[in-house]
């Protein structure tokens, strides 16, 4: 594992000048993931903030070849690129010793919901590629609509909090565990707030022979209604409260990467700074916080059992 000073020698593969909002978590995720390999990389992205903001014609922020795809087919496109690369290699058109890495990015909308079948297919077919989901918990690009990743109770434009409803009534789906169920060589959950853990996981994911998946917590200041400067801090709180546990599944071995010595912090600390949970703190809505906490506790206990930790 490289130190931060060693990492600083690496080539910057995402330039400034992209049009993501100030304080966006997505570009932090991309930068940290791309530090995970020195090999040439081909990247692609599902439709979403990351795609439209990093490549508004005639500009691209990518220092790597980049492929623009539709919402649902980031994984399918990248699996095709990997297939083409293998074919060219067989024919000697790409030198045998040249090893290119393939990575597909997608937001939670393009991964949990719209791109799920193409992702599942690419992983099942065993392509040697990495898929990275930057999870900000809603369709932020189109105006903060709820997604399968939106947490319980979060207010979005399609699950507003008001007199009738109190944010999204359902709990979020656990995509990382769905991907682990594909029995691929490497699956991990990481957060931009824990760069060392994330770069380490990206290194493992790029190095593995076969499909790999990383789900990265990438807060969105606009959608979460948090101040711009808080992006990394709130991602850290997501981890420390157990809302977003850091773990990895390597060849079927589950491993918890972060277990606070003093136990988890109450979820209130994660919820309170976010405008999308403002209604949780209205008098009479205490049960929402309790419900959120009990969901987090239940998932945490289940995960600990799977990872074989007390």
């Amino acid at each position: 594992m490289a130190t931060i000073k060693e990492l600083s020698h690496k080539e910057e593969r995402l330039t400034g000048g992209h049009r993501l909002c100030a304080g966006c978590g997505a570009s932090i995720a991309v930068r940290q993931v791309l530090l995970g390999t020195d090999n040439p990389v081909v990247a692609g992205s599902a439709t979403g903030c990351l795609e439209v903001s990093t490549t508004p014609y005639p500009f691209t922020a990518w220092g790597t070849p980049f492929i623009h795809n539709a919402f649902e087919n980031s994984a399918a496109t990248m699996s095709g690129v990997e297939g083409a690369y293998n074919a060219l290699k067989r024919r000697g058109k790409i030198p045998a010793d040249k090893e290119i890495k393939f990575v597909a990015f997608g937001g939670d909308g393009g991964t949990y919901d719209i791109g799920l079948q193409s992702l599942s297919g690419a992983m099942e077919r065993g392509h040697n590629m990495l898929y990275v989901c930057y999870d900000n918990g809603a369709y932020m690009n189109t105006g903060i609509q709820r997604s399968g990743a939106t947490p319980f109770g979060a207010a979005t434009t399609t699950s507003p909090a008001g007199k009738v409803g109190q944010g999204k009534p359902q709990a979020r789906k656990d995509l990382t565990q769905i991907m682990a169920a594909h029995n691929i060589p490497y699956v991990a959950q990481a957060s931009i707030s824990h760069w060392k853990d994330l770069v380490n996981k990206a290194e493992k994911a790029f190095a593995v022979d076969g499909p790999a998946f990383i789900n990265v917590m990438s807060p969105c200041p606009r959608g979460w209604r948090t101040p711009n400067e808080m992006t990394v801090e709130i991602a850290k709180l997501a981890v420390q409260t157990g809302f977003w546990p850091l773990y990895e599944v390597e060849d079927g071995e589950w491993k918890l990467n972060f277990k606070p010595a003093k136990g988890l912090r109450p979820v209130e600390e994660f919820l309170k700074p976010q405008g999308r949970f403002k209604h949780f703190f209205k008098p009479g809505n205490e049960h929402l916080i309790e419900e959120f906490q009990s969901q987090v506790d239940k998932n945490w206990e289940r995960l600990k059992k799977r990872c074989g930790v007390e």
């Binding site: 000048g17 304080g23 932090i28 014609y57 005639p58 691209t60 922020a61």
Partner: protein, 111 residues
Amino acid sequence: MSKTKIKTQTKWNIKGIENWGWKKHPLGATIPEAGNAADYKTGGWRSNRPIWDEEKCTNCLICWINCPDSSIRVKDEKWDSFDYDHCKGCGICANVCPTKAITMVEEGGEK
């Protein structure tokens, strides 16, 4: 062999692109120059400007690895400078700095 060889990066001249006819655009609207977004300045978005304090900085580079706009330059493993052409002034660097060596000041204000 020459067909599949990856082209080395060339400067793509997009001067006057607003008035280009369709024949002048690359097929499929591909962008032939990697990372040319660096030519697009987003520094004007900024309402707060990060200021660096050399005395307090320990060169831990936590700001660099957490910058969403790749706007912290590092040279020889040491903090070098802000890229004010692209920094949007989000303030993450000031927020994550363990020694409070970065502070945000209002853009255009006297300081």
